[in-house]
Symmetry: C2
Subunit: 186 residues, 2 copies
């Protein structure tokens, strides 16, 4: 069993601190009594207030219909301990199996959406659909993050960043620059 993270409420206006660096995330969903998880690397920040998060979910994913029908999901942030889960979840379909059971992950109830949090992830962001298919040519989604849950230990997580071809970059050192460049904007 993997470690569960004890998460605290977190200001949704600050979620960029965890998502803007570009980590792989796990998208959990629920629809008609079933849950699912997908691994996702194609996403970006779109706004602070409201907290908007954009992503690409191909129609070939089982999660596509689940999030389109439920209009909800949870974006979960895994750390390096979940490498095997990240890969495994990205390489099988939830149409055939229960990925929580298959990969030893635990559901935790969300507050505002039916999709579950993943207890073993460092952070979880509850999302409601703000715009589906902003472009008819691309399956792009815009989510509003309505509630955020983030662990406080460690201060920052070691995250996985996918390069394709089975290669992940792991988040490295941090540089704080406000002292060096005090005139910079947020």
């Amino acid at each position: 069993m993997k470690k569960k993270y004890r998460k605290q409420p977190y200001d949704v206006a600050n979620i960029r601190r965890l998502l803007e660096p570009g980590p792989v995330v796990l998208v959990s969903s629920a629809w008609q009594g079933k849950t699912n998880i997908m691994t996702m690397g194609w996403h970006m920040m779109i706004g602070f207030q409201p907290a908007l998060f954009g992503c690409y979910i191909d129609e070939s994913n089982h999660s596509y219909d689940m999030v389109v029908n439920s209009r909800e999901c949870v974006i979960n942030l895994p750390t390096t301990e979940l490498l095997e889960q990240v890969i495994g979840i990205g390489n099988c379909s939830g149409a055939d199996q229960d990925k929580f059971a298959l990969f030893g992950l635990t559901t935790a109830p969300a507050e505002e959406v039916a999709a579950p949090l993943i207890a073993e992830c460092y952070a979880s962001f509850e999302c409601r659909l703000a715009d589906t298919h902003p472009n008819p040519n691309h399956p792009l989604f815009v989510w509003e993050v309505v509630r955020a849950h983030v662990a406080t230990t460690p201060r920052l997580p070691k995250t996985l960043h996918y390069r394709g071809d089975g290669e992940f970059m792991v988040s490295g050192r941090e540089i704080a620059t406000l002292e060096r460049y005090p005139n910079q904007r947020r």
Copy 2:
């Protein structure tokens, strides 16, 4: 003066290897005889073939009008040596000044677009606009990367990943997993 990277032609179908991990990029543009650069962290991959790249460029940026009018840009990938440039470029407007001159950066000619490559960046991706404003509510752009130029030394660059509040994560170690999990997809 910062080091210039000797770049080689690169298959546009593989640009995810550099962009999907979520680094800060420098967007160069040209319009009516002037050039500009902006720092950008809100972007994502959208497709392999054609190679599609999505980003958010707020209308308040001087670069917004330049890329909307020219329908072209170059996405350049800076390394940690350009930290000061990345911050400085993100905190002033090209309406008032020539950012190449101000930040000691060198233009290099692109092959398919008028916007210049930044010689001091590890990689440069020439882009043509595939869709502006895929959503009327958000200034989202979809670019087709039509030509890619990537340095071969080092094998992978040390990139900057922004967290807001003046804090950058630097890309860390690499994990190659295909041997460990041979059934994974690309």
